[in-house]
């Protein structure tokens, strides 16, 4: 197995829009997904001229020679310092230096070469966007080296390879360090400056500075002191005196704070250190208004400058605090600062464990579920209006592009109370575009929504009280019987999963085959997981649970977790089908409880009609027909 340079994306292993880097079904091993960052649309729009690109590379290489830098190569990943899925524009360094704006990619610049790694989804885009100064490395293609293999080949042994240690999780930096040690290369942590920022200069967008806001207790359900108290009892159990949290949605959830620092996710850039007594939030003070200041003060949370995180880590180490790090998310900068400072305090070792906030956040309380239910009903109302509008437009022969349609959808949603924005880039895909699982229509290249093609629409919204994510596939004309068969088999999988009852402690992959079984019968399948976690008025992708054939993830599905149910089928160059609802895990009052176990099932959150025109009723069992009728009855009942 070749070394995977990309920091792992364990939180979003199974998201469709965060497709892991694999091209065929890998049944044994969990494949680290690697794709996180989405460059902002601003960066995306820019055209990159050849000379501009060469100037940047020249400037970067000049920096290599500076005595305080002194490196032979520099690696520029997609990530921000918090391993976020969506990142602020000012952190889109890889896009800036390379000109390649796809969501996944790593740039590596040596003194005489520049190479960019990306996966199969982006080969065409990268070919277009990269200048001749860049070598395109088609990851996953036979014979293409990994980043570290390439560095081991092109550099003379004993070279110095620089990274910004904030942009690598501790785990991924350690992995990289080991891989390049084969050729005695040294991994140089450049704490003090990011080389790309250094050449980006004035043109670099400013870091976000919008005000953070309080997430109302009526939506959060649990106040901050209670959440911190539970976390502290976990610290005690683990024998730690403090935990460092850098994942933005964990901080937002713990502090009942929301923000607008990045697209699609209502989070603020910050670090949080929670000790047995106090807690410190490291954040740009400009984002803190008087109410939030009071809110944090009430919870005993002190405010510190974002930049002071490392000095805090050092002083905790010197004080003898035993810190808990989730080394899959906390940066190499933080972990290494702690380890160095501990050197003086021998006997002190960090606790490396996954963050306890991740699972607590995933299990929604009643207030969070209530918010999710309400947000989904308003979202359903907007979608009902949208679909009625679209059907009318198409039947009237109005020509609309995929982008037009996506924009109109936002318009309908924005009329709903508490709407904040979309929860990810809408996948509005007509015909063959539907088969591109990560498709994002662009104004200058997108298709017309054709009446005689399948149309796949995967979209979601952020509301003050909840987060939505829904996919429907429709046909405005006469679908082919083959398309109906595929749609119906996807629907059968969707129903089988929706209706599943399972004993507590079952991880999601136990259920994954239910969603595929009907497709398997005729030799069909889909190359993505069936379900991902969703935050409550938070990130549209969250872990740790999932429903997927990649059975590395043994997190059980727990009561209160929200997951998507989204089987699909994709025929290259032809069409794509996906039917996605969000559901939450609930106890099912079964007649019996064998072995004293609790039995669990799903409750639907999404109430949007499924196009019956695409259903081949002869393939459905009476139970499945009942399910569909009952669902539509509920949609009518709740949404009107």
């Amino acid at each position: 197995k070749s070394y995977n340079f990309f920091p792992s994306c364990s939180k979003f292993l199974y998201s469709i829009r965060c497709l892991p880097r694999f091209s065929s079904r890998l049944p044994y091993r969990h494949v680290s997904a690697s794709i996180k960052a989405k460059p902002s649309s601003e960066v995306r729009k820019k055209k990159h001229s050849s000379s501009e690109s060469d100037d940047k590379l020249a400037a970067l290489r000049e920096l290599f020679l500076r005595s305080d830098i002194n490196v032979d190569a520099y690696i520029i990943p997609s990530q921000d310092a918090h391993q976020s899925e969506f990142i602020a524009e000012c952190y889109s360094r890889r896009a800036y230096i390379s000109g390649f704006t796809g969501s996944a990619g790593t740039a590596v610049v040596t003194k005489d070469k520049a190479a960019l790694w990306t996966d199969g989804r982006y080969f065409l885009q990268a070919e277009k966007q990269l200048t001749s100064s860049w070598i395109l490395m088609r990851s996953g293609t036979l014979g293409v080296p990994t980043t570290s293999e390439w560095l081991n080949n092109v550099l003379v042994p004993g070279s110095r390879i620089g990274i910004d240690p904030f942009l690598f999780s501790s785990d991924s930096a350690e992995e990289l360090k080991e891989a390049i040690s084969v050729k005695n290369h040294e991994l140089v942590y450049l704490y003090d400056l990011n080389l790309v920022d250094e050449i980006w200069k004035e043109s670099r967008p400013k870091p976000p500075s919008n005000l953070a806001r309080i997430h109302d207790i009526k939506y959060a359900g649990v106040d901050v002191p209670s959440k911190l108290a539970s976390l502290r009892s976990e610290l005690k159990t683990a024998g730690s005196s403090a935990i460092v949290i850098s994942v933005l949605d964990e901080i937002a959830w713990l502090l009942n704070l929301r923000g607008s620092d990045v697209p699609h996710s209502p989070v603020v850039y910050a670090y949080l250190v929670v000790g047995l007594e106090g807690a410190k939030l490291f954040i740009d003070d400009i984002k803190i208004g008087p109410e939030v200041r009071q809110h944090l003060k009430n919870a005993g949370v002190e405010i510190r400058a974002y930049e002071d995180i490392l000095s805090e880590i050092s002083s905790l180490a010197r004080r003898g605090d035993s810190l808990w790090f989730d080394s899959s998310s906390v940066s190499a900068a933080i972990v290494n600062t702690y380890k160095s400072a501990c050197g003086m305090n021998s006997g002190l070792t960090p606790v490396y464990k996954s963050s306890p906030v991740s699972i607590t956040k995933a299990v929604k309380n009643e207030a969070e579920l209530e918010g999710m239910r309400n947000a989904h009903l308003r979202d359903a109302a907007a979608l009902a209006q949208f679909w009625a509008w679209l059907e009318e437009q198409i039947s009237n022969g109005i020509v609309l592009t995929e982008v037009d349609v996506a924009a109109k959808l936002v318009q309908f949603r924005s009329r709903q109370d508490g709407f904040l924005g979309s929860s990810f880039d809408t996948i509005s895909a007509s015909g063959a575009n539907g088969a591109i699982i990560h498709y994002k229509p662009e104004p200058d290249s997108c298709s017309i929504v054709e009446a005689d093609e399948l149309f796949l629409l995967d979209s979601g919204a952020q509301y003050v009280d909840g987060t939505t994510d829904v996919t429907r596939t429709v046909h405005f004309g006469q679908p082919a019987s083959w398309q109906k068969e595929c749609f119906t088999r996807v629907l059968k999988g969707h129903i089988a999963l929706d209706e599943a009852v399972f004993p507590e402690n079952s991880p999601g992959f136990v259920l994954d085959a239910f969603a595929r079984s009907s497709l398997w019968k005729i030799g069909l399948d889909y190359r993505h997981g069936t379900g991902h976690g969703v935050g409550a008025a938070l990130n549209v992708h969250e872990g740790p649970q999932s429903i997927s054939f990649r059975y590395g993830n043994v997190t059980p599905l727990l009561k209160g977790m929200v997951v998507s149910n989204e089987p699909g089928y994709y025929e290259d160059h032809a069409f794509g089908i996906r039917i996605e609802n969000l559901v939450y895990v609930k106890e099912v009052k079964t007649e019996y409880r064998f072995g004293g176990a609790e039995y669990l099932g799903f409750e639907k959150l999404t109430f949007v009609p499924i196009q019956t025109k695409l259903v081949d009723v002869s393939l459905l069992s009476p139970m499945e027909i009942d399910w569909l009728n009952d669902y539509h009855y509920q949609v009518w009942d709740k949404v009107t």
Copy 2:
């Protein structure tokens, strides 16, 4: 997780009759099963008097003091030297020393204490059979220490704990050694004598001495030179110059040899060393007749004395041979002998990998499948006669015990061509006995087969050409509607698994939920796996594949593998239901082949009617009704 002293039983993790030691559903971890040895009925029958037991303990403790032994404790496991499921009487040392004849248990004797560990299935039996000299350790019960924890408690630090290193796999001995090192105890390998044998003396049964026989090429399909050639190419790939095989069915399969050394499995006690050029079989020469001698000679296999295995290992090490061991099955005696002898030949290290024979043996060739099909048809004929006979007896009011019925079944089977014996102890269980998953009726305590109770019969046979294993549950009177519901849900699970289609490279546990889903809907489940591998005219339990909720086993189901399909439901103190067929994995010609994958499914081997009286037809879908009708049509067609 507490240390599991029992050598693991990885090959039979999912067998019903080899039930792993766990009492509730453990979803995350693969639980090592620990139960292997079945004491012979001879040993089982003996009554153990108190003084007899004390005499044995006294004699054993006297041996502790001998200068060539010098130990403070001695551990007596159930196993033979080959980790066999069924063992010869002369190796039933734990039963001899303790008086406890259950299939699972470990005896530990110190200078002043004696303790026996067994699991929940045997608490009552052990209480009856152990004298007051013994402490019964109820494994899996709160507060009960593991064997090593107990030894760490009762012995003064730095004690010497003796074992027979032939009776522990290398892995389990290493585990034990580490666990007792906490108290600086030393694990002492007594190579030269087994202390129990030493006191057993003349009364110890003689080792088996029946002739081995050739497994006809028309059943084996592949000749021995070809099998050895494939194995040798695996050796070359692994960089080994020889492999040591101690698992008896692997030896039997590789050499197309069969025997009758142990109950139920047609194997002979032997070790096999296959080098790049030659091969040596270590076996009691008395078992080799002229034909087998010639057969082995033709394949280039030399015969050596069984006892010479260790001296061969030493000389291979001295010669510089790099040996391949499956350390989960090869004994500590063998691995340690090699390691010590290598000491003189530095740079030589063993290759520890699972045996390549295991998977090759599991994937049946066409001749083996043909033999299995034919054996199953003859077996089905015997079962048809048997069930007709039994139904008549019961309807005539004839009183029959569970043992009578099991004996009559053997009689019917023995009339079939090529019958050799039963493939395991028949589980003939009326009423509440059916809920005891490992139930074995004994003449002096078994029940009457009642007309108004459910009757569960799980049995199998060895034929020259194949091995069978089938379970049917019937009712001779009027089953309660609740029993019918349970039976029907078990049947639905059986059908769902039988009809499953799945992409190649899927491990069995992906399918396990199909068999449970219908029970889960009403909160029911069963505490055993759904399927185990079965040998072709070999062991009724074989690995490495399985179909189970214990997803540690990622072996894919491959074309040609034979597995059981045996969902069940058990209501304590009331009844048990199980419906078991053997099936083999075949390619399914699906209309499509998404991603170029091959799609697989199952073909039935077992053709024995399923009692329709127990089916609640209202719970079946039309497809399931068709399945049942079609199955019975096939049974009629093939078996008449």
